[in-house]
């Protein structure tokens, strides 16, 4: 919206004069680079016009020039708060295309990693709601726990934020003993810290008054806007990809999908809170399942598609050949089109891949949940106060990287 022009037009028409406010692009309350031009009547928002694309990096175009295993680092940088889920989603898409059967143990290991990153994603969102409503304490309490999750990722793959975790066909190596120890310790310490955080906010009268009926959306509108993930469930629709189209053996786990009623900030907060407890229970179940599987299996080891371990590449002729073939793109990749979706931190994260048999995808589209539900933001904040707009945005968990791809 051209601000000056519309002000001039209105003055000409002799209408009531509104003030215009730029919320963003760089504003501490927007948690990322996106701009909203707000048309304000006093402190009430009359209209909002979001502008996005400030960190657009053309991932879909880049992906058309990269072999499959090089696309994983691109997916890291979409929802960087839960990059392992994106990585796994991409690996599973390729495995679906190549028809690779994944061993059960690897699937459970993946579930552990994905649920850990779901917890870290929800920690960020929920503590930031607290931060934006003025409760910094909870933020500091739980960020210690998030740090612990990142330490676990560091033990598994060497990286913390943009993980590039796993490979096509499995993981790059088995989860080391030190990581298991850290996971066990995390499972003991996290519930205590998390319960403390819950006690601070969940039944806090000030927090409830602040967030209930703030930025609500009805289930009907949410579905029309193609919401997914916690934001849709807060509106009362129990759509979860993990249950609807199970991947990575999620059908074997016992967990509850929490749903809200109003789709307001408080419901979104509570849905995420409960999901963290559920994730915790899924991790515990997965660890039990891993113990029953034969140890040491961490990859499907299909030589044509899975990169062999480095020590074999250096010492074994065949592994060297396969390594060379994969890196040079000499493997036979079937033609076809695949859609695979996973339940990301923010909702249905989909990968629509068309392969024409070449070494790179012919077309790859990411269904990015943030991008799709953020368009409802103007409707959700219409008629509310400026400060409500801020916490509505933080409760929607809009991640700039995923928004702009």
């Amino acid at each position: 919206m051209n601000v000056n022009q519309s002000v001039i037009e209105q003055e000409k028409a002799g209408e009531k004069q509104y003030s215009y406010l730029n919320l963003g692009p760089t504003h501490p309350a927007t948690h990322g680079i996106f701009q909203n031009v707000l048309k304000m009547d006093g402190e009430i928002i009359v209209e909002a016009e979001p502008t996005i694309g400030y960190i657009h990096r053309a991932f879909e175009k880049l992906a058309e020039r990269r072999p499959f295993y090089q696309i994983t680092p691109l997916t890291d940088r979409m929802n960087y708060c839960s990059s392992p889920i994106n990585n796994m989603g991409w690996h599973m898409t390729v495995e679906k295309l190549l028809n690779i059967e994944i061993p059960k143990r690897v699937q459970y290991l993946r579930v552990i990693i994905m649920e850990l990153s779901r917890i870290s994603d929800h920690i960020i969102c929920n503590t930031i709601i607290g931060q934006d409503t003025g409760a910094t304490t909870g933020f500091l309490y739980l960020f210690q726990m998030r740090e612990r999750i990142y330490e676990i990722f560091e033990e598994i793959c060497g990286a913390r934020l943009t993980t590039n975790i796993g490979r096509i066909g499995g993981l790059e190596r088995d989860i080391p003993q030190k990581a298991w120890e850290k996971i066990d310790k995390f499972l003991i310490d996290f519930p205590i810290a998390f319960q403390e955080f819950s006690n601070l906010l969940e039944r806090n009268r000030i927090f409830m008054d602040r967030t209930i009926n703030c930025g609500p959306i009805s289930a009907e509108r949410a579905l029309s806007y193609s919401f997914s993930g916690p934001n849709l469930r807060a509106a009362g629709v129990d759509y979860d990809v993990r249950v609807m189209t199970p991947y990575s053996s999620y059908e074997e786990f016992d967990f509850i999908i929490p749903v809200g009623t109003n789709g307001d900030t408080y419901d979104r907060f509570m849905v995420r809170q409960e999901e963290m407890w559920q994730s915790l229970s899924i991790i515990k179940q997965a660890i039990e399942k891993v113990k029953k599987e034969p140890a040491g299996i961490y990859s499907a080891r299909v030589p044509e598609f899975c990169l062999p371990p480095k020590e074999e590449v250096y010492n074994d002729m065949e592994a060297l050949i396969y390594h060379f073939k994969i890196v040079m793109g000499e493997t036979e990749i079937p033609k076809g089109e695949v859609y695979h979706c996973v339940e990301g931190g923010n909702g249905e994260l989909g990968f629509y891949l068309i392969s024409d048999g070449g070494r790179t995808p012919f077309r790859l589209q990411f269904r990015r949940p943030c991008f799709i539900y953020y368009q409802a933001y103007p409707e959700m904040i219409k008629g509310s106060m400026l400060s409500d707009a801020v916490i509505t945005m933080s409760s929607m968990n809009v991640i700039a990287g995923e928004l702009d791809a």
Binding site: K61, R65, S224, G329, Q365, Y373
Partner: protein
């Protein structure tokens, strides 16, 4: 069970729009229907309302450029959340002048997806409330995801990619 419900969708579609169907396929067990471009909005509305299909959730929408055919496909992916059934609809538009009506009256969520498709492929969605570029800068003159635009400057000499590139 899965197969029979997919058959229901196909028969519901054939019942009224037999002449519009170009091709039906199920790659990786995902029902994919290529359609003629003329009645796409009508068909999506029909699939939205029909009791056997009820595709009332738009999962995604995107463009695909086929340079050999000189066509741009628009892919609509719909989901029936009750029966957990998915369908992919494709229409093919000429690359010189890709025009198709918008589906924003049916799905509010199509708004930005259509803007994105316009931004990257130049597909003009007629009747769209606010069809302008969304992720790229507004004064860009090309549609970058079309295949004729290479990722890197072709005149670069410092990086010889002939051996490995596509």
């Amino acid at each position: 069970m899965e197969g029979s419900t997919q058959d229901n969708v196909i028969s519901a579609l054939k019942e009224k729009y037999e002449d519009q169907i170009l091709h039906i396929d199920t790659p990786y067990n995902f029902l994919t229907v290529s359609l003629k471009k003329e009645k796409i909005v009508e068909i999506i509305q029909y699939l939205y309302n029909h009791p056997d299909t009820k595709f009332q959730y738009l999962t995604t929408l995107c463009g695909i450029h086929y340079p050999e055919l000189n066509q741009i496909a628009v892919m609509y992916q719909l989901h029936n959340l009750v029966a957990n059934l998915r369908i992919r609809l494709k229409i093919f538009l000429p690359a010189e002048n890709p025009v198709t009506p918008t589906i924003t009256p049916i799905f509010s969520g199509a708004n930005w997806l259509e803007r994105e498709t316009y931004d990257f492929f130049g597909v003009h969605f007629e009747g769209h409330p606010n069809l302008k570029r969304i992720l790229n800068v507004e004064d860009m003159i090309i549609f970058p995801l079309r295949k004729e635009y290479p990722l890197e400057d072709q005149r670069r000499e410092d990086k010889n990619d002939t051996m490995f590139g596509r």
